[in-house]
């Protein structure tokens, strides 16, 4: 360590400024590329936010409003999966401290399902493990996303926004039935 102190050439203003400008250029280009890549991911549907629908285990959030004190007057009165006349599938889920209704959501594999989630009391989270379904659930607001569960099996649904003393127990399941089953709620 005891290298003798020799006079060294110290950094000068001019050299430093050139490096600074190069670095600034790199930083700006890097960030614009980052933005472009997220944006192209939106357009190509690798993740579905701008379109509102998606493929694979992916979900976007679209809009809607309900009165949380009067869910009985809405489709949320009967939580669960329903098949519409045109054959499309919709699921209604209510988050309420400290449960989700229905307790287990059964969906068929291979068919697009639109899930609508709302909260009856406070803010909750709706996170399906192993997917990128991850939405903030606010009372008075409906979070909706369309997706197709490809593989049969079970996934956990976790409330991941603090909602009170029982928050950590607010966990349920999505059961994905094999495609032939054509399950009903």
């Amino acid at each position: 360590m005891a290298a003798p102190h020799r006079p060294v050439r110290r950094l000068d203003h001019r050299t430093l400024e050139r490096y600074e400008n190069i670095w600034l250029g790199i930083a700006v280009v890097l960030l614009l590329l980052l933005f472009a890549s997220v944006f192209s991911s939106m357009i190509s549907g690798t993740f579905p936010l701008l379109r509102g629908t998606g493929g694979g285990h992916a979900g976007g959030v679209t809009s809607g409003r309900v009165d949380p004190r009067n869910l009985a007057a809405t489709p949320f009165a009967k939580p669960g999966l329903r098949e519409n006349a045109d054959g499309s599938l919709e699921a209604f889920v209510v988050a309420r401290a400290f449960n989700f209704e229905p307790a287990v959501l059964r969906v068929p594999a291979g068919r697009p399902v639109t899930i609508h989630v709302t909260a009856a009391d406070v803010v909750h989270g709706y996170y399906v493990t192993g997917t990128n379904i991850n939405a903030e659930i606010l009372p008075g607001h409906v979070a909706s996303f369309t997706l197709t569960f490809r593989r049969p099996g079970e996934q956990s649904v976790i409330c991941n926004e603090y909602c009170g003393i029982g928050h950590h127990g607010m966990i349920t399941r999505v059961v994905v039935d094999p495609p032939t089953a054509r399950s009903r709620p």
Binding site: E17, F35, L49, N160, I165
Partner: protein, 579 residues
Amino acid sequence: MTTPPLRPSVPLVSGPRAEATPDAAFLASLKKVTQYYVVTGFLALLVGILLGPLQALNYAGINVYDYPVLRALLGSYYQGLTLHGVLNALVFTQFFISGWMLYLPVRDLGVRINMRFAWFSYLLMTAGLLTAAVPLLTNNATVLYTFYPPLEGSPLFYIGAGVMVGSSLLVAGQVVLAWWHWKRANPGRVTPLVAFGSVATWLMWSIAALGIVVEVVVLLIPWSLGLTSGVDPLLARTLFWWTGHPIVYFWVLPAYISWYAFLPRQAGGRIASEPLARLAFVLFLIFSVPVGLHHQYADPNISNTWKSIHMLLTFLVAVPSLLTAFSVAASLEDGARARGGRGLVGWIRRLPWGNASFSAQVLAMTSFIFGGAGGVVNASLAFGPVVHNTAWIPGHFHITVGTATTLTFMGVALWFVPHLTGKRLFGPRLASWSVWLWFVGMMLFAVGMHWQGLLGVPRRSQMSATVQNVYREMNLAVPQAITGLSGVILLVGGLLFFWVLFRTLLSKRVQDGEAVPIPYSEAISPAGENLATASLLTRRTEPLLAISVFAFLLVLLVYAPVLGPMIADAQLVPGVRLW
């Protein structure tokens, strides 16, 4: 608005750099109030970090909340978490920064401020803190530091928090006004770097704080008092994040002031470029506020277009951070080479690693590189759903606010407290141990939590008490062990630091505080003294008030289309208490 009506009864001294002959009585008084701010902040941090290991143990899968001792102290895991968040993230930062960034610009500009008003601001801020402390400690405001309605805490909590944040705006007003008087008395002069950074930070905070002030004053206080029937949760969240993202820059910029202006001197080097440092502060002033929506990618009823625009603006905030990384690293290299450092990276060994004040700040910057990289992931609309509300997020902010801010302030305190009090630093070697342990602990905590988050563990959850099988299926053993270990290391590091700090504070005054000078550094490219001869960048960055008006207009531009429909559509939801 943000600048309080303030008429100093003591006229502000103008003369050029009156600093050279500071009035001893005034300086002593200024040091005193600063010391009160700093010590109050650290007391909050002490309580806050004592609760930290409990969070780490929870995320190690160990539920300690049923032990009788803890039962007697804490209503629940969530009360401990609320205290931990509020004390560390809101109280410590607010008090330390208010002292730090009152003292520095006043010294740097050599002006006099009204000390009565300075004390009034301190007492008001403390009164706010004590008011909020009552419901927090009695488990009547266990709503976490984000306090999302309609989970409803005691009105005392919202009133106390409002007063505390509001009084930081009084400090902001006092500093900006002092700077303004200095400008009037010194036409054509370039604002010195430290004062420039402080004023830019306070101006940014004044714009940023509006969101939370409106949320608390207009929505939450009347609602918690029962005067209104409810709150729209989305509107409240959006106002919260108006402040909630820029607040992280309010935590980091005071650290940047030290990294830019003081750390080079501590390393034996020079500031790389003052004009560039000024540019970084101006970019933060403009870009750190209009970005809050990136905390709300998962919220329904907000247009994806506006989420995308906030994403681009968030990415742009990384530019001044990257500039800082370059500039500060260059100034350290300059110092190390002057001390005989050689080689492409070999010079790093010649930095004064044995100086705890220095190493704390460089370690803070090092972990902030990883924090910043993770932040770019969080800011991405595509990655958002993967990490939103998972343990990844606390992993992320412990290596940002937990190091870039807290570890830097710890390092700063090691010279700042002796400077303010005239007491000698107790145990420099212990101080070294404490900051290295803190760094190692935070890095391990970040590894454990990021890892758990990617596997799907949520944040803010007493997962150790969960009876369902979900976490047992996730293969968490390794990241849980790392998280638990990190909590123990952090506790040891934190206690060592406070031992050093309090032994220093409680020792006898042995010297004039001025014997420990503020480590102002020279610059390789200085900004110059006169605007007329200064570089273009220096001239363009000087009009901070005009720049902040522009920043405010930009904020309105990106928030009006988001908030407008929310207000038009607002649907009030009654409050609930669920803990």
